[in-house]
């Protein structure tokens, strides 16, 4: 295995010797880099690939994402992925994802609205990225990290393991993450 830094347009190998892998393409019998990054010429599989230095971020399976709920339906909630936790840049492509009622909690959830509401920010794990992004919140660390009162829209506070609106003096039900309120959403 040989490693080298390459730039888009740089000829990295010949098509007789290598197959274009990620970050490369074939043109006129030559393998050309299409991304700036570290070149790997794998002599075992005869693949030339480039590991980009600043890769685009697409949600992958097992990624933890922060998402805001945009719609609540009878069997699922539609969310917009805000960003992938730990990723340096905004996500690429369609940010829309769905959270099915069966993958909200390990306990029985009667209605989606009893676990998440429109406008809530949730931390979720990606369970599928193609053809559509599917999320799950089954885990203590996953669930709502920021919620607003459905009546007055003030931010709900964590009180007695439940969410409390100090304005309306009432409790609301959510599938809460273990660090509710301690997450920076911006």
């Amino acid at each position: 295995m040989e490693e080298k830094f390459v730039i888009p347009g740089e000829i990295v190998a010949t098509a007789e010797e290598f197959v274009p892998g990620k970050g490369t393409y074939e043109s006129d019998g030559k393998i050309v880099a299409s991304e700036a990054g570290k070149l790997t010429l794998d002599v075992k599989s005869h693949t030339a690939s480039v590991k980009p230095r600043n890769p685009v971020t697409e949600p992958k399976k097992k990624d933890k994402v922060l998402a805001s709920i945009t719609d609540v339906r009878s069997s699922m909630a539609i969310c917009d992925i805000l960003f992938i936790e730990g990723a340096a840049r905004q996500i690429t492509g369609d940010a829309e994802a769905t959270l099915h009622v069966s993958s909200i909690s390990s306990q029985y959830v009667e209605t989606v609205g009893s676990a998440v509401r429109v406008g809530d920010v949730i931390r979720a794990e990606v369970t599928q990225s193609q053809p559509s992004t599917q999320l799950t919140t089954v885990s203590a660390h996953l669930g709502v990290v920021l919620a607003h009162c459905s009546r007055c829209k003030s931010v709900l506070q964590l009180k007695d393991k439940s969410l409390f609106c100090s304005e309306c003096e009432r409790y609301e039900k959510r599938k809460i993450a273990d660090d509710y309120g301690a997450v920076s959403v911006s």
């Binding site: 888009p8 347009g9 393409y25 050309v32 299409s34 991304e35 700036a36 890769p55």
Partner: protein, 264 residues
């Protein structure tokens, strides 16, 4: 005095664009480029960015995406679209430039965007938009070329898969001589201006315009000069990206952490 007035003005008396020794106003020979400086990754918030100085031109380019396409009706289910915005800042020229899009900047946005579209592997990111912003901080003729040069480095810096970097520069005719990389005086009082974007590796031409009149022979000479200029600029673009992602001394990890910390 507006840009239009300058364009229609005759050569001021006593001003010689090319002297007896064949030197131009700024001391260059006919086939010489202005001094060029390219830097990649200058903006923290953008996914990719570049800064280009080409003589007195100062240009910033920022790339965002591929990201969700807005407005939605523009999105293409089979590929990404490139939305390029060329903008001259109000203080970029001698007289204040009226801010906002005008006929000229819409045209430049279109041609620069189309050149980039050719180079980027759009089909890898269906339904998305790649937004390219070119800000001209200081203009001195040849901003569309310098803008495209900057934008292509910014796209590469953003990690977007592309066929090749795109260098661009202009050639033209001044005082009956075909010259490379016109400056403002030469552009205003010269006879022709031919901006060209050209990929040296494949020989493909991605942008070609002509303002003014040239004979076939002069045109061929202009293209030849501009191709030479593009080849030089191409090397500088590569250097800029190499500097940005310098591998030497094992600082790769360090700069990666720095990149990760930017978000916080």
């Amino acid at each position: 005095m507006s840009y239009g007035d300058l364009m229609s003005m005759d050569l001021p008396e006593g001003l010689k664009l090319i002297d007896e020794e064949g030197k131009r106003l700024d001391g260059r020979r006919a086939d010489e480029l202005r001094p060029i400086k390219i830097e990649a990754g200058v903006l923290r918030r953008a996914d990719g960015s570049a800064y280009v100085e080409m003589g007195k031109n100062k240009i910033l380019a920022a790339v965002y995406g591929p990201r969700e396409c807005h407005p939605r009706h523009l999105q293409d289910p089979t590929r990404a679209i490139v939305q390029c915005h060329y903008n001259m800042l109000s203080f970029s020229v001698d007289d204040r430039k009226r801010p906002g899009p005008d006929r000229r900047s819409v045209e430049i946005s279109k041609i620069v965007g189309e050149a980039l579209e050719y180079s980027i592997f759009l089909e890898q990111f269906p339904r998305t938009s790649i937004d390219v912003y070119i800000a001209v901080l200081q203009a001195n003729a040849g901003t569309r070329c310098a803008g495209l040069t900057a934008a292509s480095v910014a796209v590469a810096d953003a990690g977007i898969p592309m066929r090749d970097l795109i260098p661009a520069c202009a050639a033209g005719k001044v005082a009956d001589t075909v010259v490379l990389d016109l400056n403002k005086e030469e552009d205003n009082f010269g006879d022709a201006d031919v901006p060209l974007a050209y990929i040296p590796r494949t020989g493909e031409i991605l942008l070609l315009q002509m303002d003014g009149h040239l004979t076939q022979a002069e045109f061929d000479r202009a293209i030849e000069l501009a191709k030479g200029g593009c080849t030089t600029i191409y090397g500088l673009q590569q250097d800029a990206l190499r500097r940005r992602y310098a591998f030497a001394g094992g600082d790769a990890q360090e700069s990666e952490q720095e990149a990760g910390g930017n978000e916080a």
